[in-house]
C-alpha cells in the first residue's frame, strides 16, 4: 500500500452506508445493505461472480444509479463529500470518473481531443486551462499522438485509454472502472492496470476496479472487496482475500494462489513477484523439471490454409491483415488462436467461414465450419428458441448444446451462457450428419465478461464438441482459459503465425502470452496450477 498516497483522515473518496437498491421491475434487489468506505488514494479491487452487484455499486458511486436507471434506493452514498443520491452524474463528474466495459459506447465525440475536452467544456473551464488539462492527461496516459485522430480509427486498447483520459481529465478524487480490460489483449490489459497504479500513486486518485481476471490486478491492489448476491462478502487485504476465497469461493482464486494451495505452500501469493520470492525463500528449485508435451496424433484436416493473404480497407488505408498464413487444424483438436488486438485472429476465422475473400492463397474447411462471432446475441433474432431452430435439424443442434429443454423459452430470458450455446446451436443447425458435427467449430472471443464458473462450463462444452469429433478453434485473449481447454496454441503476430505448438509449450514460453503459473515457475511445459503443484511437490520432496 502506498502510505503517501492514502491520505487517512481526509474525507473518504467514497463512503457507502447501508446501501440497498433495486432496478425498476426487478424481482429482487441488486444491492442489499452495502457499507464500505474507500480512503483517498486507495486502490481497491472489486471481485465477485457475474451478477453479484459489482457494476451496480460502481453506478451508484457515479450517480447513474438511481438518476439514470431509476429504481428504488435506500441508504447513503457520499463521494468526496458530495451526496451521490441527491447530486446527479453531471455534478458528480467533477469528483468521480467512470469507465465502463465497452469502450465503443463511451465516446461521444468525433475526435480524441474533443472527447477529452468535453467534460471540462461542460464544466465551463476556460480554453487555456482546458488545453493544459488535456495535454497533461494525454501525457499521463501516453496518448498525445492520438489527440488529432478520429475515434473510429482507434483500436480497442486506444479507445479504452481515451475513455480513461476523459474520466480523469477533471482530476477526480475517485475513478471507477468496470472490467476495463475485458476486451483487451494481455499486453494492453497489463499496461492499463499498471497505468492505473501509476496514476494512483502519482496523482493520488483513488481507484475502484471491478474485474473478473483477478490475477491481472490483485498485485496492484491495496485492498479487495468481494461481493456475493448484492452484499459484501469480504473486505480486506489481497492476501487475506486469497485465504478467504480458497475456503469460501474457489472460483475467485488466482492461478498462483491455486498453485500454492495445491502444493501446500502458505501464505498464498498475490502476484508473480510475491510467489517467486516465496519460492526462493523456501529454496524450492524450479527450472529443472519439465513436463513432456504430448505429440498430437495426425488426423483429417478440418482447416487447411495455404499462403493466405487477406487485405482489409479502413478509410483510405488498405492493410494486409493476414500475410501468408500456412495453417492446418485437425479433427478432435482443441486449438487456442491468440495474439494482440488486430493480429488477425477474427479475420482468419471469418475468411475460413467465407465472410471475407483472400487476396492471395486459399483456405479450405473440408468438413464445413460453424463460426460463433464475438457477440452471440447477434444470432438471436426471434422471440422463441423453437422459432430460431425449427425441425429435426434444429432439435439435433439444441441437443448437442444441451438446450433441448428450452424450446419454448424466449432467448432473452436465457442466461448469458445459455444464450451463447443457443447461438452455437444456430450456427451448427443443419450442418450435422445426425449427431456428427461439422469438421470445424470456431468460437471468436467468447469469454469477455465471464466469471470462472462460466468459463469452466465453456471448457466442458469445448471438450464435448472435440470429443464428438469436431476440431474446435477458439480465438481468445485469456491465457488462463486457453491453458484450461487447449491442447494446441497458435499465436498470431501482425498477420503471421509466430508460434504454433502444444499449449503447454507455447503458454510457458513468453511473458504476456504465458499463464500466471508459467510466469511464476518459468518452466517449459508447466502452465496450470495442477502441473505446477506436481512439480513443486516433487522439487520440495527432492530437496528434502
Amino acid at each position: 500500500m502506498s502510505e503517501l498516497a492514502i491520505r487517512r483522515g481526509a474525507a473518504p473518496a467514497l463512503a457507502v452506508e447501508g446501501l440497498g437498491y433495486a432496478y425498476p421491475r426487478a424481482p429482487r434487489p441488486a444491492l442489499a445493505d452495502i457499507s464500505v468506505e474507500i480512503a483517498p488514494g486507495e486502490f481497491v479491487l472489486l471481485a465477485g461472480r457475474s451478477a453479484s452487484g459489482k457494476s451496480t455499486l460502481l453506478k451508484a458511486a457515479c450517480g447513474l444509479v438511481p438518476h439514470f436507471h431509476g429504481g428504488e434506493i435506500e441508504g447513503a452514498v457520499t463521494v468526496a463529500g458530495l451526496d451521490a443520491i441527491e447530486s446527479g452524474p453531471g455534478e458528480l463528474a467533477a469528483v468521480v470518473g467512470y469507465v465502463a466495459q465497452d469502450p465503443e459506447t463511451q465516446v461521444v465525440s468525433t475526435t480524441v481531443a474533443a472527447e477529452i475536452e468535453l467534460p471540462l467544456e461542460m464544466r465551463g473551464d476556460d480554453p487555456s486551462s482546458t488545453a493544459r488539462a488535456v495535454e497533461e492527461v494525454a501525457l499521463a496516459l501516453a496518448i498525445p499522438h492520438l489527440l488529432g485522430r478520429t475515434v473510429d480509427t482507434l483500436s480497442g486498447g486506444e479507445l479504452q485509454r481515451v475513455a480513461l483520459a476523459a474520466a480523469l481529465v477533471t482530476r477526480p478524487s475517485l475513478v471507477l472502472l468496470d472490467e476495463p480490460t475485458s476486451q483487451l489483449d494481455p499486453v494492453a490489459g497489463d499496461e492499463l492496470i499498471w497505468l492505473l497504479r501509476r496514476l494512483n500513486e502519482e496523482w493520488g486518485v483513488a481507484v475502484l476496479l471491478a474485474e473478473h481476471r483477478l490475477e491481472r490486478c490483485l498485485a496492484a491492489a491495496d485492498r479487495v472487496i468481494a461481493m456475493d448476491a448484492g452484499a459484501v462478502a469480504f473486505d480486506g487485504s489481497p492476501g487475506d482475500f486469497l485465504s478467504w476465497s480458497h475456503a469460501a469461493d474457489p472460483a475467485l482464486s488466482t492461478p498462483a494462489a491455486r498453485l500454492f494451495s495445491l502444493a501446500g505452500i502458505a501464505p498464498l501469493p498475490t502476484g508473480v513477484r510475491q510467489a517467486r520470492q516465496a519460492l526462493a525463500l523456501r529454496e524450492i528449485g524450479v527450472g529443472a523439471t519439465a513436463v513432456e508435451a504430448e505429440a498430437a496424433a495426425p488426423a483429417d484436416p478440418v482447416l487447411d490454409a495455404r499462403g493466405l493473404w487477406v487485405e482489409l480497407v479502413r478509410g483510405d488505408d488498405p492493410r494486409d491483415v493476414l500475410r501468408g498464413i500456412d495453417l492446418a487444424l485437425r479433427r478432435g483438436e482443441r486449438v487456442a488462436l491468440m495474439g494482440r488486438n488486430g493480429a488477425g485472429k477474427s479475420t482468419l476465422l471469418k475468411t475460413a467461414a467465407g465472410l471475407l475473400d483472400p487476396v492471395r492463397g486459399k483456405v479450405g474447411v473440408p468438413g464445413g465450419i460453424a463460426l460463433l462471432t464475438q457477440n452471440p446475441s447477434d444470432y438471436l433474432v426471434r422471440e422463441r428458441v423453437g422459432d430460431e431452430l425449427p425441425g429435426e435439424a434444429g432439435t439435433a443442434a439444441l441437443r448437442v448444446v444441451g438446450l433441448e429443454h428450452a424450446v419454448d423459452a424466449d432467448p432473452r430470458d436465457l442466461s448469458g451462457g445459455e444464450r451463447q450455446r443457443l447461438a452455437l446451436a444456430i450456427a451448427l443447425a443443419g450442418q450435422m450428419d445426425g449427431e456428427a458435427l461439422p469438421g470445424l467449430v470456431a468460437l471468436d472471443e467468447q469469454t469477455r465478461g465471464m466469471d470462472r464458473s462460466r468459463k469452466d462450463d465453456l471448457v466442458a462444452l469445448i471438450a464435448d464438441l472435440a470429443g464428438r469429433g469436431a476440431g474446435v478453434v477458439v480465438a481468445t485473449h485469456d491465457v488462463e482459459f486457453a491453458a484450461e481447454f487447449a491442447e494446441r496454441v497458435v499465436l498470431l503476430g501482425d498477420g503471421v503465425v509466430i508460434a504454433d505448438g502444444p499449449a503447454d509449450e507455447v503458454l510457458s514460453g513468453g511473458w504476456y502470452f504465458a499463464t500466471e503459473v508459467a510466469r511464476v515457475l518459468d518452466l517449459p511445459g508447466v502452465v496450470t496450477p495442477e502441473q505446477g503443484a506436481a512439480v513443486l511437490r516433487g522439487a520440495d520432496g527432492g530437496d528434502g
Partner: protein, 306 residues
Amino acid sequence: MRSPFAYTPRPGPLQAASPAAAVAYLGALAAVAFLYSSPLVLGAVGVAVALAGYLAGAGSAVRAATRLGLAIALPIVVVNALVVNRGETVLARLGDWPLLGQVDVTAEALADGAIFGLRAVVVMIAFAVYSACVDPDRVLRALRPIAGRSALTATLVSRLVPVAAADAARLRDAARLRGPGAAEAGRAPLARRLLAGSLDRAVDVAATLELRGYSLESRRAMHSSSVGGQTRRSWRQRRSRHDRRFYLAGALVLCAAIAAKVLGADDFHAYPTIHLGLGPATVALSVLLVLSGFAPYRRKPRRRRV
C-alpha cells in the same frame, strides 16, 4: 469500412478554419450554383469545389460525391427529357406512352435536365468537402449555446449512425453464418434486432453524456440566461489564422456572383432553343470562381538557409 465523407483531421487551412468560415466559403459556392443556370458558371463552381476538396486532401470525398451526384443526375436528365416536351430541336419521337402521352425527346429538354443534374453534382461535392473537412465536434460546440437540444440530438445521431452501421454489418455476418437448418434470419427480425440494439446503444451514449456533465451544462445555460438576461460563456471557439481567407473568398464569390447576375452574366436559356451567352461578365465570373477553388491552398513552409 470508413465512409469517404467522414471527417478526417488533416493539417490543411480548411480543416483548421472555424466552422463558420468554412461554411461561409463552401456555402457561397453552393449558393452560386443555385443562383446560376449558365453551364459555364456551374462548371466553374464544380471545378472550384473539386479543387478546394483536392487541395484540402479530401480527394476521395470529391470522387465519391461525383459518382453519387452523377448517379442522381443521370435519372434527372432522362426524366426531364421524357416528361418535358418543350423545345424546337426534336431528337427522337417516341410515340404515345401511357400517362405521358406523346413523348418527343428534344435537345432543349436534355440540356435543361443536364443543368439540373450539374447543379446537383456541384452541391453534393460542396457538401462532401464540408463533411470531410469540417470537424463536427466544433460545429456542435458552436451550435450548443444557440440550440442545445438540437446539438444534443445531433451529437447522439452523429455517434449512433456509425455504431448502428457497424451493428448492421455484424448482424448481416451473423445471418450469413446461421446453419442451413436454422430459420432464416429474415429482414424484419433483423431490422427489429438492429432497432433494439440501437436503443440500447442510445441509452449507453446518453449515460456517457450524463457522466461528461451534459445535463449540467444545459442547466447552467438556463440559469445564466435567466439571470440578467445574458449568458456569459467562458468557452470560446478557437479562431484560426485562415478564417479571414475563407470569409474573404466567400464574400468575394457571393458579391461577384450577384454583381455579375445584375450585369446579365447568367445568359442562358434552354427553351425554345438553347442559348448560351459568353459575355465578358460570364467569363470573368467563371475565372474568378475557378480561382476561388485555390482558397484552401497550403503553402509549403520555406526552409531557412543557414
